[in-house]
Point group: C2
Chain length 345, copies 2
């Protein structure tokens, strides 16, 4: 169906053995091969437009030069951006990437991992969903190189690249406090994933540290399926609480989008009546009528580190490298103090 030119076609045409062709094309033992035949082989390979069959090569060498990447959902901008960076980075090192979306479902995650393993990927970069510890541990037992991305499990020793979500949440809340907001709510996920717990705990700790009592209704937890209705209910609950909030921290870009969609339709004004901050950037945030302050993850660095950790793991199996990067707060209009708003505009 595809390339039918094989090594032995070249060998036949050149009047040499297939092995020799292999050596030449891979630049092996260059000292032991006469320049003349080497050139002849290269010429013929060129004119036959030969390209090596990766399947056969991989079968023999047990190396596919492929890495598997599993994210939550490739159609989410956060995942898509990260995927793109990883793809580019891997490609620089001659690696091909195959993607999969887990939809935060550990069953689907497990299935994806195994299809990738059947295809003999050299290693995996994974954003594991909740309750997927067993899968990760089994990969470790099999000595399959993995790097966790965006998330990690405190109880499992693996390579990972994450950000300091606790600190990021704290910083966001401190910023809100510094702009005079006192009734700060948060909408985030009801999940046991460590990075999400840290976002939640950072929020709580920041308020406590500043002597602010966290009202029960100020912390709204929603399902990780990102149900629009549920998120809207959470927004309404925050606003109708007693006392109602004057600022909200959104635990993800999906939550932010759904919430802002509702807020857009209410009479409420941002930032006068409500300040908002959100985790992760999307273009939508800049286009909101009051550009949204957000917590920016260093995506390039995350992607590059993940690939580099994985590749170094491929060379020296057993190496464990971890990074916890710092996120930065990008301050825009959505958190301007009301009294500064007019002079700023």
């Amino acid at each position: 169906m595809q390339k039918r030119v094989s090594l032995k076609d070249i060998a036949a045409k050149a009047g040499v053995s297939a092995a020799l062709v292999s050596y030449v094309l891979n630049n092996r033992l260059p000292s032991r091969i006469s320049v003349a035949t080497a050139q002849k082989i290269r010429d013929i390979a060129g004119q036959l437009n030969y390209s090596t069959n990766q399947l056969a090569k991989s079968l023999k060498t047990n190396k596919t030069n492929t890495i598997g990447l599993i994210v939550a959902d490739i159609s989410n901008p956060f995942s898509a951006n990260l995927a793109r960076i990883i793809e580019d980075e891997a490609e620089k090192c001659q690696y091909t990437t195959i993607f999969g979306s887990s939809d935060e479902d550990p069953g689907k995650f497990d299935k994806l991992v195994h299809t990738m393993l059947n295809r003999k990927v050299d290693g995996l970069i994974l954003s594991p969903p909740a309750k997927s510890e067993a899968v990760i541990e089994s990969l470790q037992q099999k000595d399959i190189p993995i790097v966790l991305l965006d998330r990690y499990f405190p109880g499992i020793k693996t390579s990972y690249v994450i950000i300091d979500n606790f600190a990021a949440s704290m910083e966001a809340v401190h910023h809100l406090l510094s702009t005079g907001r006192t009734r700060i709510g948060m909408i985030t996920y009801d999940s046991e994933l460590q990075h999400l717990l840290e976002r939640k705990n950072g929020y709580i700790r920041a308020l406590e540290n500043n002597g602010v009592r966290v009202e029960k209704e100020w912390l709204q937890l929603v399902g990780i399926e990102n149900n629009q209705q549920q998120i809207e209910d959470a927004v309404r609950a925050l606003l109708s609480a007693t006392p109602g909030v004057d600022a909200v921290l959104f635990g993800s870009n999906k939550i932010a989008t759904s919430s802002l969609k509702l807020i857009n339709s209410l009479s409420l004004r941002v930032p006068c009546d409500l300040a908002v901050i959100c985790f992760d950037h999307t273009e939508m945030l800049d286009l909101f009528y009051s550009p949204v302050t957000y917590i920016k993850q260093p995506l390039e660095e995350i992607g590059e580190l993940a690939v580099s950790y994985l590749l170094s793991n491929l060379l020296h199996n057993g190496t464990i490298s971890t990074s916890q990067l710092k996120a930065s707060l990008v301050i825009q209009q959505s958190t301007t103090r009301p009294d500064e708003l007019y002079q700023a505009k």
Copy 2:
């Protein structure tokens, strides 16, 4: 490194030949194999946690159950959504998808195609960039199954799934005219890609059909690299033209985003001073202070058809299937007539 359990491990433990194990696990010749041994083999396979080595299988069968998908840029929401749909659709049919982003660069496109071919993908779904006709034609000569996505080349007979961009543009302009706009501009790409030409021509034709003279400055062409500065200049040119426009059609979501970002910072109001319509949906459009009317492509249908055409092509090589789907106009506030605006709100 990974699965070390092979067919012959099972065969040894079961005291049968490797061939028999293969038959059993593939449910071949079920009538000719005793139920007892079949069960024994399955049990052993289960307890050894065997899973087949796709590399070896593919090498023999010349089938990888993998499709290659090349889009312009996986980090663009339009591409990402489509990719996700195709991934899911392929997965339903037991196919794995490998992605690549061409960045509209024919050289990169060609390179991606060849890495995929070296990996022996069964077929390709491609959004070809400009000047990649030669690559497509060479794939055809090699009888490699392909389906073009989102774009096509009029001179080349291939399977494709596209939308009627000409009609979509016309409909958008007609809608603007029907809401009383008379000075309608367009910002789109300076590209020879057929689908982009059709977007441009649909705009021109719609105006001509309605006896509107298209001022030169109303049609602004920008590079496909989506340079922010260039797009902003185009917006400014439209607004400062004589006469200045009272409506704009954006040729892509990237153009729309960049333009709206600028418009957001001007004193100009949408839709009072300017109506806007854009090709393709992103969430950003709903969050703009005046939710943006857009041309919606039937992404699910496009993705499903593309996969189905490719798979049917894998069975019966040489089949050519094409679809030109209709896009729909989703009308939102950004094109409301100024005089209806207050009563509508």
